[in-house]
Amino acid sequence: MHNDRPDLYICTDHLLVYSIKHMTPSVCEGDMMDDSQKHRILMVSDFFYPNFGGVENHIYYLSQCLLKLGHKVVVATHAYGNRSGVRYMTGGLKVYYIPWSPFVMQNTLPTFYGLLPIIRTILIRERITVVHGHQAFSTFCHEALMHARTMGYKVVFTDHSLYGFADVGSIHMNKVLQFTLADVSQAICVSHTSKENTVLRSGLPPEKVFVVPNAVDTAIFKPAVDRPSGSEIVIVVISRLVYRKGVDLLVEVIPEVCRLHPNVRFIIGGDGPKRVRLEEMREKHSLQDRVEMLGAVQHVQVRSVLISGHIFLNSSLTEAFCIAILEAASCGLLTVSTRVGGVPEVLPDEMIVLAEPDPGDMVHAIQKAISMLPKIDPQAMHNRMRELYNWHDVAKRTEIVYDRAFKCSNQNLLERLSRYLFCGAWAGKLFFLVMIVGFLLWQLLELWQPADDIEEVPDFTLPCSCDEEMLEKNSVK
């Protein structure tokens, strides 16, 4: 230690020493990864439990399957109310609820460098090798990816949504995405339509983007042993009642279908700002006995709602993928959906009836589905879904993406900065400046709190008898 002290007064030598020190562990890590192929993954997003949605479920199920494959998974998200700090969840999944207040729609305020110290601490404490960001409009995710690339980590990004190209929000969001993904190692999209959308928006080379679809836990979503019989036909709708889920289409479609088919009944699950419109529609057309509204449905209750129906109706206006129709098909329901985004890629033609997002066409599709209903075998549909969509298969494909990311060569700062310059005539220079300042701040943190002084978390594995102990505890309760 005495020999290191004179170097503190010579900045150039100090930076060189730190860069040499930084390169050595990455080489060792590379060797370790080539031998064992076990990754240590940090999932970052603004969206995780206790919030509910497709991104949250995706992160949770993917993490569970990666843990079963032997990798270590840590999730970082912002605090949700009183849920702040570190939690250990099912399967030993460690979740950092960083006390960072959400600003709008569960997104944190973009601060450029505010998250750098704590992200750096987490990456060093957990000895992370891959940072996996989720969702294009998660500011937490973008900041974490930016800082991880500054520190030289491998970065993978998963895009879960489709965006436009010409409205004001999309123009700004696409520029941010171009900045964040300029230096990403690999990207994942949930459908081919989503891949096309992301490549056009961010300017990523298409060979860097993989298509790994969402999946469904077919063991949970099983058909009913005895199907609801009788002359009544039940159509189930489960989604958040917001604009982009097409609730305004439902307001037009449901009265018309109820008029044309007196034996049709609707079950609507979900809550949101558009629920009032559905209530008004029910009042206006006197459909209280034929349109049942359940309110918010917890994910554990979704199956019991689905198996009480024959047809699942999805009226989204934009979808990169649609997990809800996977769950419905796994329960043996025939699906009627709008032909938007990646929805036509999800199911085979005999399981789904597609319609344009137009009330008349949707009514025709529902009529066609009602005529197809006698030929549907729920158990055969469930077995087909088990082969097509499985979270373990998604985890294996994601593992391939991680291995591909590790085969990418490491790049120094100059090569990365030249890539940011290509983002635009003026935006490129701004991005260049942001990355330079980020690099300098990271070096300052290395001086202030060296990586060697940060304590690493000991590794552990949940014993196999954990399930039995949990059973004993619950039996005692």
Binding site: A79, L109, F137, V168, H172, Y243, L317
Partner: protein, 284 residues
């Protein structure tokens, strides 16, 4: 800055033309800000649901012969020239002029369209109502437009490009124009402006003051935000670091002998168990 927005405009223009597939992607982005709110308030959500599925380059509707006072007909007539202007890529000025005109018309149209939500009997002349499917509205539609029923409901998507895209495009052009005007006002000498004939403009002081105010506001906002986050951090001895209202106990697994086992539902493992696993094994 000028080249940046110009390239952004070109990028968005070329990308929108490349969108051949029916990828309707106007999800509610949090960064949309005021324009998203304005777009949502001015346009009735019912009609927006109709128009989402159609691309801007889809062929126009068949123009119907009706009274000139019919608002729907006026809408269709005005919509067609803006669609034909898409193909004239070498003449940008009429393109912008037509789009500004179209934006104004769509705003006035959507204001009258808000009357649909009030459901008053006096709004029977609204064009949105003729696209409705309900029985009561179909009766009123048959009185005014007998041809509407025979053509089906495919007309709902033939009203030209989406208003949010028009706002985005006009916003980009307006930003470029405003930037040029600002730079001219801030940097061109006063004698040059007077020689051209511009003798009245705001004081140059604001060319320095307003950007400085904005930058200081942003820096202070970030500082306050980070400070608020530090204030809201629970203390290490707080109960909320290990337990909260969202904590779930592990559910007892059903002992089924089926071949596929479901992924366990989300739950918390208590800190006491984690401590036993991490440190008792090390001690042993």
């Amino acid at each position: 800055m000028f080249c940046c927005f110009h390239s952004s405009v070109q990028t968005s223009k070329s990308k929108s033309q490349l969108r051949n597939r029916n990828t309707n992607c106007d999800s509610a982005a949090p960064h949309r800000g005021d324009s998203g709110r304005d777009g949502r308030s001015f346009n009735p959500p019912r009609s927006r649901g109709h128009c989402r599925g159609k691309g801007p380059l889809r062929s126009g509707a068949i123009l119907r012969f009706a009274l000139a006072s019919n608002e729907c007909e006026f809408w269709a007539r005005v919509g067609s020239p803006s669609r034909t202007v898409y193909s004239i890529s070498f003449c940008p000025k009429p393109f912008r002029v037509n789009f500004v005109m179209y934006a104004l018309i769509s705003m006035s149209k959507s204001v009258s369209g808000n009357g649909c939500d009030m459901e008053s009997p006096h709004s029977q002349n609204s064009p949105r109502r003729t696209l409705s499917l309900s029985k009561k509205r179909r009766a009123t539609a048959s009185c005014f437009d007998p041809d509407e029923i025979s053509s089906g409901f495919g007309l709902s998507g033939d009203h030209g490009p989406k208003p949010s895209e028009v706002y985005g495009f006009v916003g980009s052009i307006t930003t470029v124009v405003a930037t040029v005007i600002f730079l001219v006002w801030a940097y061109v000498p006063e004698s040059w402006l007077q020689s051209v004939g511009i003798s009245y403009y705001p004081s140059r002081y604001w060319a320095l003051a307003v950007p400085t105010y904005v930058m200081v506001t942003i820096v202070l906002m970030l500082g306050f935000y980070i400070g608020l986050n530090f204030i809201s951090t629970p203390s290490p001895a707080s109960l909320n670091t290990v337990f909260d209202e969202f904590s779930r106990d592990p559910l007892s697994l059903e002992c089924t002998l089926e071949d596929e086992k479901p992924i366990e539902p989300i739950s918390d493992i208590g800190i006491d168990r984690i401590n036993d696993i991490m440190f008792k094994n090390n001690a042993a």
